[in-house]
Symmetry: C2
Subunit: 223 residues, 2 copies
């Protein structure tokens, strides 16, 4: 499986304000770039923190891209994936509508009742891990379900865990021209943090878009 992480951050690495309110960091050009990456993916993954904060839909904006996918014998929209240990995703979340398949990666900490509620609401529930979701195991199950190319859209907790699990092949980050600040605001990579062995990247490209810049990286040690 090939994993690309994509996010938009302020110059100081923030994905949103300390109130975790969604923030317009980029503009139309970047939204289009993101839609293109989505269109190329078999599935788009977010953490339950993002579902609760933003209630995203994660489908394609551009109808032409949907048509093109269908023409190639693929589903019109990529599948959606939520990383959600205990099943906190609301059953009326937009991500659970029938616009596309939605996988819910839960852990053994999700009760059987909750799993059933979520699968009644339309989710394909996959159990991976004991306390928290085990991303290596979870993405392994997605690969078996046919996901070859996975896009990770955030937030910072899940992105950190993806790097910690060593599953990231590529990072694309839009750096917007503003300062958000806040020692408690979510950043591109939160979690515990690395102390010694840092994931090393290779800067493969830069592109100015809207009022900011997209930095593209490959991850060292991944073929």
């Amino acid at each position: 499986m090939y994993v690309v992480v994509n996010a938009a951050q302020s110059v100081d690495g923030k994905l949103s304000t300390r109130r975790r309110e969604q923030l317009r960091i980029s503009g139309e050009e970047d939204f289009d770039r993101m839609d293109r990456i989505r269109a190329a993916a078999d599935a788009v993954l977010v953490g339950v923190g993002t579902v609760l904060a933003d209630d995203p839909h994660l489908t394609l904006d551009e109808e032409a891209r949907r048509v093109e996918r269908l023409r190639n014998g693929r589903p019109g929209d990529p599948a959606r994936v939520v990383v959600d240990s205990t099943g906190r995703t609301p059953t009326d979340a937009r991500i659970l509508d029938d616009a596309a398949t939605t996988y819910l990666l839960v852990s053994a900490a999700a009760t059987p009742e909750r799993r059933e509620e979520l699968s009644d609401a339309g989710a394909e529930v996959i159990v991976a891990g004991e306390e928290r979701v085990d991303l290596l195991e979870g993405t392994g199950a997605l690969a078996e379900a046919g996901v070859d190319r996975l896009m990770v859209e955030g937030g910072g907790e899940v992105i950190y865990s993806c790097f910690a699990a060593g599953i990231v092949d590529e990072l694309q980050v839009y750096v917007g021209s503003l300062v958000v600040g806040g020692r408690d605001a979510p950043t591109l990579a939160d979690g515990e943090g690395f102390l010694e062995e840092f994931p090393r990247l290779e800067l493969t490209g830069t592109e100015r878009l809207d009022d900011g810049i997209v930095l593209s990286y490959g991850v060292e040690g991944r073929a």
Copy 2:
């Protein structure tokens, strides 16, 4: 006074690890760029957090730059400034040696005894603000002392306050090709964080250095 903020961060906006241990984010080319900015400055400012974490010296690396400054009738090294409300800077800190003038911006919360100890240790103590250091007042006093060009080197708490005080004209940030992670690691701009009126920047230049990239910004609303 013209204020330029310079820092080195990981892709995810971190200035160091959550242990606040100094971290080599850039390399020789970037150190040289930083030394050039220092050489052009009348003073280099850091917060007491950085003094306690890194015990920096903040003088010039390149002897030729020192000679050039002296030839122009300036002090060999820029003055050093610590933002330090209660005077926590150790009297044996490297920043207090006699390589250059050192201003200590304290607040009224610093006891007269502590102020005296620090001035005995060689610091020029300036009182600005009641609880914390008032940066507008403090930099006003520096301007009166002849500081026309100020370089701010961090850390994230002080950089945030400089943006909040509206005194920043330019930001140069080296983005290194690694992920540090950590919801508690210091970022380029910490503090409380902005919620509505975000400092807006204009991306004026990009330069690839070492294995990363320098992003240069002007601050909107500053002539």
